[in-house]
């Protein structure tokens, strides 16, 4: 899974490095949690582009891309994330963010 973040009040071009999580290298329990979150979100059935917000500012735009066996899908959405399952998946990724 890869999460690309863009924009926000603290939009800094140097911080656009994506979060990359690989179920083969994550601890087994976390890899399992990630798979469950992907399934719960029906990720591969979500439209590629969620509606853009009509109001608001400084929101971040996320692009989550997942490769799973023969499946590949990307979903782009912005804050606030109203889909609870997609929100849980994003929060999981943010919790696993690391710096170089």
């Amino acid at each position: 899974m890869q999460v690309q973040t863009e924009g926000g009040f603290a939009a800094i071009p140097g911080l656009t490095r994506p979060i990359v999580l690989d179920s083969d290298t994550l601890p087994p329990q976390e890899a399992q949690e990630m798979r469950q979150l992907v399934t719960a979100a029906h990720f591969f059935d979500l439209p590629a582009q969620q509606p853009l917000p009509q109001r608001g500012a400084d929101y971040r735009r996320y692009t989550i891309t997942i490769d799973d066996a023969d499946k590949h899908h990307s979903v782009q959405f912005t804050e606030p994330v109203t889909d609870a399952h997609l929100r849980d998946l994003l929060a999981f990724a943010l919790r696993h963010k690391s710096r170089p």
Binding site: F9, A10, A11, G56, A57, R87, L90, A91
Partner: protein
């Protein structure tokens, strides 16, 4: 997480200039927050005195409000590191300070922002109709952002690696609340030049909230947006520098501050909604130049001209820099006069950032 207890004895003993000095200079974060909190309480009393003295306010839309409605109504929520909004209520208007300094920072920051709009511009909250102010703190896990979602302000705690909590800087709170004001006025489209103007309005008023809270003149102000947000690990003073766009940070990981200070260096990027947080450096500098040329307090003459322009019905959601510049000059003429010191300062500021405004031979249109 640090906590603090308000010190009423300190409040009654220390004169405002000492409190301001502590708020500005103290290396102790808890002490600095305490000073800002005490000044905030004094500011609330000042708002109440202003309201009592007027009984009713004549607002720009000619609506007369009863006294009871012109009072700030703040509610602070705690998302408890989740990304679900708004979270649970942790502080309401008039309640005692929470044990959590982040909650109190948000509460006080909203209070100062409301105070600037009410006391200086006679504006009754975000919508000028007394809209209650809502903010959520502790949003998301290690969340490096703050945003306005169309109805409330949201603040993350930062990752504590590169970023501290976003409530730490009062100008960030003023910035986010001003996005609400802009939404109810010009409703500048958050993309391209109109988006950069939207961002600039928030930086301008966010900086003025900080200057107003600290009673700083234009020469004392730091003109930084987000000072203190970076941890010591980052080589940078703030996220943005209104006086010197492009010089806020230069760090091996973050790179160099990309803000341009002149139209010659306008960035046509498609990222960040067309560089809304990048190209805002140009109108930010125009405001700084205007304010510093005029001297005194920024929220007085320069701030009035910018506020009038934000509320000017001729400012369209898709306005470009040149449209905005033209309207600031026309509002400078309306508020002061053609060829006045204020009018000249506005004209020269836009000229210096590469957005010249064609000027008729005679004033008046």
């Amino acid at each position: 997480m640090s906590t603090y207890t308000p010190n009423n004895a300190l409040r009654s003993i220390l004169p405002p200039h000492i409190l301001r000095a502590i708020a500005l200079n103290s290396q102790d974060v808890a002490q600095r927050n305490r000073a800002i909190h005490i000044m905030s309480l004094d500011q609330t009393h000042r708002s109440l005195r202003l309201i009592r003295s007027q009984h009713s306010l004549r607002l720009p839309n000619e609506q007369t409000l009863v006294t009871a409605r012109v009072q700030v109504q703040r509610t602070i929520y705690d998302a408890r590191d989740s990304m679900e909004l708004p979270g649970i209520v942790v502080r309401t208007e008039g309640s005692n300070p929470a044990g959590d300094s982040v909650v109190n920072e948000a509460y006080d920051g909203l209070g100062w922002t409301h105070a600037l709009y009410l006391q200086v511009y006679r504006r009754n909250s975000i919508d000028n109709q007394g809209l209650p102010l809502q903010a959520t703190v502790h949003f998301g896990p290690g969340y490096d952002n703050a945003f306005w979602d169309g109805t409330e302000m949201v603040f993350g705690d930062g990752d504590n690696d590169l970023f501290n909590r976003f409530t730490l800087a009062i100008d960030v709170i003023g910035h986010e609340l001003t996005h609400g004001v802009t939404q109810y006025e010009a409703n500048l489209l958050f993309s391209g030049q109109s988006g950069a103007l939207n961002e600039s309005m928030s930086d301008v008023f966010g900086s003025m909230v900080k200057q107003y809270a600290l009673k700083q003149g234009v020469d004392q102000a730091d003109w930084l947006i987000g000072a203190g947000l970076f941890t010591a690990k980052v080589r940078g003073r703030a996220l943005r520098d209104m006086a010197n766009p492009g010089q806020a940070y230069d760090d091996p990981l973050l790179g160099k501050d990309p803000q341009p200070d002149h139209m010659d260096r306008y960035d046509p990027t498609l990222q960040d909604n067309g560089g809304v947080h990048i190209n805002s450096g140009i109108p930010n500098r125009a405001f700084h130049l205007t304010a510093t040329t005029l001297g005194g307090y920024s929220w007085e003459r320069a701030g009035h001209i910018w506020y009038e322009t934000l509320c000017d019905p001729r400012l369209r959601p898709t306005a470009q820099f040149s449209d905005f510049a033209k309207l600031t000059l026309e509002n400078a003429e309306k508020l002061y006069r053609y060829d006045s010191r204020e009018w000249t300062a506005v004209r020269d500021a836009w000229e210096r950032v590469g957005v010249p405004v064609p000027v008729p031979a005679m004033g008046g249109r």
